[in-house]
Symmetry: C2
Subunit: 353 residues, 2 copies
């Protein structure tokens, strides 16, 4: 009866993207309404005048979040935000979400009310409707599944695949802070575990912690694009890290790119904290992840418009595929860009992260 | 730092529906495109000429399925089917799904390929596109999240809430078999656990096992409605059990109902097996669940059309609210109808089951 065969191929040998490719290679399209399936920040479905975009995430306690330092209210908020970020990355406006939870017996009604406070708060901030979900029990901890939907005019949809040689590479906000916030929380957790009497003093690291615990999605950037008539040629949200997410754009667009290290936006707080952790600030920005900023490319002709866009930085340029991905260091060297990304083999190519 | 407060209110004290009501009572609608949120088989969103319906399920190993007797291929198939069933219950046609998995290290690539074979097979049988999902690791076992989308012409959308006094109560297929199939599998599992040398002989229980392991959704019924111009006044899929699901219709429609016990469709195999398990066949049909049949009400004027519908049974009638829910037994008695439903407090009112 037992259907556990002897373990053949370890999933880790394929890597996150190889596994997805293998599992979904037989996917057939039966409906003409399916415009884009697996392979971008969100799937795209044709609905009359507009496109519907849809993204989904599965978050597991102990893998994606640690309730030792993640307040449930923030967890609810963040779980919504990371999905809205994928919708914005398609140049779309999110409209509805579903939120499902599986809970073990350790969660009280009051704890769940905290979680839902965060969900409702995110819905309020981003004008998104909670329209459903599933609620069930789990054998261990908390599992969360969020699906977000949004709308975009057909001519404004932005895929990862539209970047072309000569396009300008831009990123919003700043990078690396969320990763450093996580490092602080992990360090404090270790201290707390070894000495529960210690009261952590996290006040002066407010910015870094907030970037980790209560990220925001770039609604403002999408609104700016709409107002200024800008349609990025390609876009992705920075969830894996700048390097990895740029690779997704380059692979999907069949181009190369370079980043100027000196142009990568890193906050002073992040610079200082990286050094404190003996990390290279640029590396945390390139590989940290969870920034939920938008990485996008624009046609040269939009350069003037972008120059006036608040909180956006020109960090490089799209090049020919044969030139690969390069980092022009502050010291004047040129390095090949490597991506490390997250290690819980979270899929970033199934269209739904 | 630890945010586990002392456990206040046990979620079980509220019950499944009470918990959902408490958690989602503050839900605000920001978008005019949201037609129906929490509270039916699927949520409904306005998209131009048509309605988009959307349903989601979260399935946890050890709660919703047991890999001791559930082959992964069937699990993939069933996980899709249960969501399509919710889409059909809105009188809609499913078009796209997303399928997310969280897996522990015990799962090989080959095991996951089995799972996806089932997913692809369900997509092929029901003409549905797999457009995305999330793939990540878990700390324990397998978690699955499926979201299904479908379309329906606005005038044909069918909610739980439209039943009115005098409407005829119908159900498709037959009931109780899936529950009995589960009982057989559980019994064989116990035998196997105590004596792994035993080879279970399940051949003569093929129908009951198939109803549990490889259910189908009633695409044919929805197609028949479309062809004959029937629009049910209310509809729900039978996932909790006939009694519980009828209660959902009655509560949403603010009506009462009666069921004639003798009219409940139960297959001979199910009758015999129920007796073998010392269960009342009618009780397994009323409370077993997982049948994925359609329970619906029609206006009296559609009676002639329904009489010619294949595999459908008239089992009762909608009555005034004050009459409550009644079972007219084969022996001529009238009992109050009670619902037991599933015990893993799976939510059936968040619109997404």
């Amino acid at each position: 009866m037992d259907n556990f065969k002897p373990k053949f191929t370890d999933v880790n040998t394929l890597g996150e993207f190889g596994l997805i490719e293998k599992l979904t290679k037989d996917t057939i399209k039966y409906n003409t309404s399916t415009i884009k399936g697996i392979g971008d920040d969100a799937a795209v479905v044709n609905y009359g005048d507009a496109y519907l975009v849809m993204s989904t995430d599965l978050l597991i306690e102990g893998i994606h979040f640690d309730l030792m330092y993640m307040p449930l209210k923030h967890l609810g908020y963040k779980a919504v935000i990371v999905n809205l970020s994928d919708i914005y990355a398609m140049n779309a406006v999110p409209t509805q979400i579903t939120f499902s939870i599986a809970i073990s017996s350790k969660f009280s009604v009051e704890a769940l009310e905290e979680l839902y406070m965060g969900i409702h708060e995110a819905c309020r901030m981003y004008n998104v409707d909670l329209i459903g979900g599933d609620t069930t029990s789990s054998t261990k901890g908390l599992s969360i599944s969020v699906t977000a939907m949004g709308q975009v005019k057909k001519e404004k949809i932005t895929y990862r695949s539209g970047a072309k040689v000569g396009d300008i590479l831009c990123v919003t906000g700043d990078l690396g802070a969320a990763y450093l916030g996580l490092q602080i929380l992990e360090r404090e957790k270790q201290l707390y575990v070894s000495n529960p009497g210690i009261k952590p003093d996290l006040e002066d690291q407010k910015y870094l912690l907030e970037r980790q615990l209560k990220p925001e999605a770039r609604k403002d950037s999408i609104m700016y694009f709409a107002k200024q008539g800008i349609i990025p040629t390609a876009m992705i949200d920075v969830s894996d890290g700048l390097a990895s997410d740029l690779m997704h754009i380059c692979k999907a667009s069949d181009v190369g790119a370079y980043i100027e290290e000196a142009k990568i936006p890193i906050k002073d707080e992040a610079q200082l904290m990286a050094i404190k952790f003996r990390l290279d600030p640029a590396t945390t920005a390139l590989n940290g992840g969870e920034d939920y900023e938008l990485l996008f490319t624009i046609d040269e002709s939009d350069l003037e418009k972008i120059k006036h866009m608040p909180d956006v930085y020109i960090i490089g340029e799209i090049t020919d595929r044969k030139d690969g991905l390069k980092l022009h260091t502050s010291g004047g060297n040129i390095h090949k860009l490597k991506a490390q990304g997250w290690n819980h083999f979270d899929d970033e190519t199934t269209g739904q992260n």
